[in-house]
């Protein structure tokens, strides 16, 4: 599904070149739930941005769903983002003056779907996250957990091949975080491929596999449960 080979991302100025990612190789298979962990500034979000085609790598190659996407133009990357990738952000990133229905509608609009098809997908997605009764509410009228569920519904409405989540519970209290995590697990059980960036070892442990990134390099790729056990022993 997602295959990065010797991929690098450098930010260059006139005097200095800083590597956010350095020669990383990762392979995420169809249907996997992978957690990307690492301390702040390790390059997790840059990895996610490149995985989501929001940024382009400066070296190496990136294949998504069998297609080399590392050198695509802006329009082609937009189309792939729209058709194959769903995003869940830490800050939810709902559009504040659109109601729940219209927020979920945004990616479908750019796919050029007919109104009836869009409505069916939006209703299904909101039903799946348990927000069918809130379609006319605006983001400011919802709790953080509800807003994140709207964001998940928006990510799911387009039936993406890959779901990218950046600290999806980072802005939520424990109870809401647990609910959102359970929702992601349920979505995964239904067959979705999920890549989740988190710095929380407990959340990471709930993924099938962990990728640990430090200073822009993958230092460990391993079984999630083993990693959690190791961290417990160290503690």
């Amino acid at each position: 599904m997602l295959k990065m080979t010797h991929l690098s991302k450098a930010f260059r100025t006139e005097v200095v070149e800083t590597f956010a990612l350095r020669d990383i190789s990762i392979h995420v298979r169809q249907g996997e739930f992978v957690a990307v962990t690492g301390p702040s500034g390790s390059g997790k979000t840059t990895f996610l941005n490149i995985a989501g085609l929001l940024e382009t790598p400066t070296g190496g190659s990136y294949e998504l769903d069998g297609q080399d996407v590392s050198r695509l133009g802006d329009d082609a990357r937009s189309r792939i983002r729209n058709e194959k990738i769903g995003f869940i952000f830490q800050a939810f990133n709902l559009i504040p003056d659109l109601n729940v229905f219209d927020n979920v509608d945004v990616p479908l609009r750019y796919r050029g779907m007919k109104g009836a098809e869009r409505k069916r997908r939006i209703d299904d997605a909101l039903a799946r996250v348990g927000l069918s009764a809130r379609t006319r509410h605006y983001p400011a009228e919802l709790s953080g957990g509800q807003q994140q569920r709207v964001a998940i519904a928006r990510a799911l409405a387009g039936s993406p091949r890959l779901l990218l989540a950046d600290e999806p519970t980072g802005n939520l209290d424990t109870q809401m975080a647990r609910a959102v995590m359970e929702l992601l697990e349920e979505i995964h059980r239904e067959g979705a491929t999920i890549v989740m960036v988190t710095h929380d070892p407990e959340l990471a442990a709930r993924a099938q596999r962990n990728v640990h990134v430090i200073d822009g390099q993958v230092v460990d790729v391993g079984d999630a449960e083993a990693r959690l056990a190791a961290s417990a022993v160290q503690a």
Binding site: S78, F89, N93, D97, Y110, R154, G158
Partner: protein, 435 residues
């Protein structure tokens, strides 16, 4: 997607209403000022006979003696009766008419209306066909009527309404200066602006209310208006002056429907002047002109300079308004960088973001157009209260209405180009991370 963008644009207008109002106000005021001044300019500099004017020409010759001659001078604006007769008799144009303004006392048959002075035009037969004068009843007179000094008259619809209650007044008599004139035609509404065929009576004056053959008017010594410039030592009585070759007082127009005929006619004016020089009448070097109607209006500087200046100032003001709107739109659009970043992340190509914001700019323009139109109506009402001869002509017409809407939308699109471009260049990753 257009409907979606339009829907978003409408929502965008409601967002930050204060900022939106400022932009609409800036565009509206700029458009209002520009449309007001451009409407006045358009009315004043318009083509009085669209579709016809490029075939109408004003010949000028210089028959004067050598006294006071200055090389490079323009020939006089009017010609003498003798030259007018010679040019008419030469019959070298498709149509030709000689004319001047005049006035007479009209003595109405209708009870309750006292005698009053009436503005007249003395002219020759081709006037009506050449200037495409529309007739309600009857027609103009013939060249034979000119020769016969017929007592015939063509009246305006306004005069017909006043004296004959709008009925068909054909073959009824109009009494002018105690002489009866048979009515042979009633002109429908006709007011070419500017009053191109005789600018002595005011650049934007109304058309005359009655038209009489020039030869008849001369024979009856009817009163005339306008300038008369005489030269030479010969002492002439007023009546002699009218028909002499040394007093210039008549306007002369010709119709020439091809470039070749125009060239031929200019050659004819040159050869006529040379012939008159050989005969000893014309003393100055040959000096002829053949200006088209629009060239003639331009030469006569019909449009007041201050009106042109005001238009330039208003357009400059519109540019200032656009620049201000650019700043306001930049502030408004870039405030929504996060929305742009989200839309981009969800699959919106740059072109979609650009279109969305440009349409929003267009919506500001449409609202600005409405405000601008309202302001221009107020502005034109203010112009109509000014003591100038074109005041009553200052009305918003269909052309300027469309121009106002177009100007407003184009102005706001220009104002929206840079902000929309900046908005669509927002890097989504950076914005989403900054949240």
């Amino acid at each position: 997607m257009f409907r979606y963008y339009a829907w978003l644009a409408a929502r965008g207008l409601k967002r930050n209403p204060g900022l939106t109002a400022l932009m609409v106000l800036a565009i509206g005021i700029g458009i209002g000022a520009s449309v007001t001044t451009l409407t006045v300019l358009q009315v004043l500099s318009g083509d009085p006979l669209p579709g016809k004017s490029d075939t109408l020409f004003y010949p000028q010759i210089d028959p004067q003696d050598s006294l006071g001659y200055q090389p490079g001078e323009e020939p006089p604006d009017v010609i003498s009766y003798l030259d007018a007769k010679n040019l008419l008799n030469a019959d070298r144009a498709d149509r030709q008419a000689v004319m001047t303004g005049g006035g007479a006392a009209v003595i109405p048959d209708k009870p309750g209306i006292d005698p009053y002075l009436l503005d007249l035009r003395y002219t020759s037969a081709d006037f009506f066909a050449m200037f495409e004068v529309p007739f309600l009843h009857g027609s103009g007179w013939t060249a034979a009527d000119d020769e016969a000094r017929a007592r015939v008259v063509v009246i305006s619809r306004r005069l017909n309404d006043k004296l004959f209650d709008g009925g068909n007044s054909m073959d009824r008599n109009l009494r002018l200066n105690n002489q009866d004139f048979r009515i042979i035609g009633v002109i429908d509404e006709w007011r070419p602006n500017p009053h191109f065929y005789d600018l002595n009576t005011g650049n934007y004056s109304d058309s005359e209310e009655a038209f009489v053959p020039l030869e008849t008017a001369i024979q009856l010594e009817m009163g005339r208006n306008g300038t008369m410039n005489c030269f030479g030592d010969e002492r002439l009585s007023p009546v002699q002056a009218l028909t002499s070759g040394s007093c210039m007082w008549l306007q002369y127009w010709v119709e020439l429907d091809s470039a070749e005929k125009q060239k031929d006619y200019l050659n004819f004016l040159t050869s006529y002047s040379e012939e008159q020089r050989r005969l000893g009448r014309f003393e100055r070097p040959v000096n002829v002109r053949l200006r088209s109607l629009m060239q003639w209006l331009d030469y006569q500087k019909v449009v007041p300079e201050d009106v042109r200046l005001q238009s330039w100032i208003a357009l400059g003001f519109l540019v200032v308004c656009i620049v201000n709107t650019v700043g306001l739109m930049l502030a408004k659009f870039l405030r929504r960088s996060n929305e742009v970043a989200v839309r981009r992340a969800l699959g919106a190509p740059r072109a979609s973001i650009f279109s969305q914001f440009l349409l929003e700019a267009g919506a500001v323009g449409a609202a600005g157009a409405l405000l601008g139109l309202a302001l221009s109506l107020l502005g034109l009402a203010a112009v109509r209260m000014q003591p100038v001869d074109y005041a009553e002509l200052a009305h918003l017409n269909g052309l300027m209405f469309c121009a106002a809407v177009l100007m407003a939308v184009v102005a706001s699109l220009i104002a929206g180009l840079l902000p929309a471009w900046q908005a669509c260049r927002v890097p989504p990753a950076l914005q989403l991370k900054s949240e």
